[in-house]
Amino acid sequence: MSLAPEVLPADPGTVVGKPRRTEKSRPGKKKSRSQWVKRLLCYGILVPGSILFVAPFAWLISASFQDMGSMFSYPPQWVPEDPTLNGYTTFLGVGGDDASQSAQSSDAWRWFANSAFVATAVTVLQLFFNSLAAYAFAKRQFPGRDLIFMLFLGTMMIPGQVTLIPNYLALKHIPFFGGNDMFGQGGHGWLDSYYGLILPGAVSAFGIFLLRQYMLSIPNDLLDAARIDGASEFRIFWRVVLPLCGPVLAATGIFTFTYAWEDFFWPLIIISSPELYTAPLGLALFVVKNRTAWDVLMAGSVIATLPMIAVFMIFQRKFIQGISMSGLKG
């Protein structure tokens, strides 16, 4: 959220480029032996390293198919001897042995639906609002433009914790909502609501900055031609500028979505009703409250991770591009 634009790598696009292969195509067989040693050394570090990196996932997936008894068994079972779907069914509230656990976790579907809804809404709104503002900054001349733009930029490195408390208080006192009167007193306002989850994240100074930089490269002649043809400003924005911003919209959109999906701090603070929990909040509070139901928790963790992994696998290039542009993870 808080970022210093000056320190971005010059061209985020290079992130996904393939490494050059000049080494490989070099002629001559003299080096083959030292090459061999080098390669062996590479694999010697990479393979054990990747096993260490993947082991916690493997354990998570394996544990999610075990009952509590075998999860606690020594030695640990990497391949479940007696696989069970109990964790999943209990987590999703579709049955399971322990009725009380099932009752506690029957909101799980709801958490995921909430996360999906909130993340989608934040992404759509942010892309729309960011690109509108970016268009004004990049392609329009109006009094106060540079001043407002500097104001946006200047706040990018402010940590979210500074605005956290006033935002909490501001949401609490939104008039006419959540039982508040017209002076914002008496109720809880937008706390504990979808508005509170979505709106503070519906615009991002950094997103505006990235989009503006990208729009600056669109030739003005193109816009002028559309103006001569009588297109309205919004039509120019919507039909000419926006389609040209495809790559940067995709990259920032994917990142915004994942960020909103995994955001934890903000929901933790403003949400109190279980039916409004997002997936990370639900899981985290599940840990805090049901310290013993590890099988259910592991299943829930797998389910919460799957959408992220799916998004990553599908949009791998864009994803890495987006994350390296925005440079920060929850």
């Binding site: 808080s2 992130v15 590479c42 009094p143």
Partner: protein, 310 residues
């Protein structure tokens, strides 16, 4: 409707309120474009910042109707607050350990993955997986791994006779922070790796070829070409890493809850406690501004370094 090109060409010699006003009227649609973003930004950032600043001079509790103005009391309290000092030390410890380790390991893996080897994309994906895993899930997995009775760490360490009795990890006051650091390094290496990989690919190959002709070995190529050429990337990762680490919260909340005996109470965790456990909004805002001030100083220093590196 005036075109942008027109507006740019028009001489702006005459200035004055009337002229500005007429230009504003002419460009009204630009303000319309700006309005949704500007509205949200004004409320949730500009107003919030000013209001937070005001809060630092008050004793503001959501449960008390009175919110007296207390001047600099919150600041003097902060300076004497033992827990605040503790939280700064913990945050510095966490940052000082996590950022260099994450960057170092990320650089090592990036260099290896930049070699002509098989399954490069596959390895890259494996190392990147922890980055796309929700942080809450990462914290849950690792909490289990660290469990002193049935966690995998103790199991394998005992089995290989590296330790003779189970370690308490997250409940041991000297091990809790290193345990959180290890977890954070695991989840952050993939990010450093990807950024370093991009940096490595932008180094001109001619430099290496020239060095080889001059007889430079792999080590001196690394020392005299790769690392200096990666300086901007390193600085970028350092800025990002420090900003991110100073705001560490999720791991702490799930894994240790600030304990044992405040050994893992970081600044943001302390802010959270002050605001939403003790409802001291004024004091919590003061703490948040202290965090802001530290990050600000850090960023300025780093930007200066960055300019020099360029």
């Amino acid at each position: 409707m005036t075109s942008t090109a027109d507006a740019a060409r028009r001489p702006t010699r005459k200035r004055g309120p009337r002229r500005t006003l007429s230009r504003m009227r002419r460009e009204w649609s630009a303000y319309l474009f700006l309005s949704p973003g500007l509205l949200l930004f004004s409320v949730f950032t500009v107003f919030a910042l000013l209001f937070a600043f005001y809060l630092t001079f008050t004793e503001w509790s959501i449960i008390q109707p009175e919110r007296p103005f207390v001047g600099l009391d919150n600041y003097s309290r902060m300076i004497e607050d033992e827990r605040f000092r503790r939280s700064v030390i913990n945050t510095a410890y966490y940052t000082g350990a996590t950022v260099p380790l994450t960057m170092g390991i990320g650089l090592l893996i990036a260099i290896l993955l930049n070699q002509p080897i098989r399954a490069r994309g596959f390895f890259r994906t494996l190392y990147f997986l922890p980055v796309v895993t929700p942080f809450v899930v990462v914290a849950i997995i690792w909490k289990w791994l660290y469990n002193s009775d049935y966690g995998l760490f103790n199991y394998y360490l005992l089995k290989t006779h590296l330790i003779t009795e189970p370690l308490l990890w997250l409940s041991d006051k000297d091990l809790a922070m290193p345990a959180v650091v290890l977890m954070s390094v695991w989840s952050g290496v993939g990010f450093s790796m990807v950024i370093y990989l991009a940096g490595l690919q932008s180094i001109p190959q001619e430099l290496y070829e020239a060095a080889r002709i001059d007889g430079a070995g792999a080590w001196s190529q690394l020392r005299h070409i790769t690392i200096p050429m990666l300086a901007p990337t390193t600085l970028f990762l350092m800025v990002m890493g420090i900003i991110g680490s100073f705001q560490v919260f999720t791991q702490i909340f799930i894994m240790t809850n600030g304990g044992p005996v405040d050994r893992t109470t970081t600044m943001v965790f302390y802010i959270y406690e002050a605001a939403f456990k003790f409802y001291e909004m004024g004091y919590a805002s003061t703490l948040a501004y202290a965090l802001f001030a530290m990050l600000f100083v850090f960023t300025l220093i780093q930007l200066r370094m960055y300019r020099r590196a360029e």
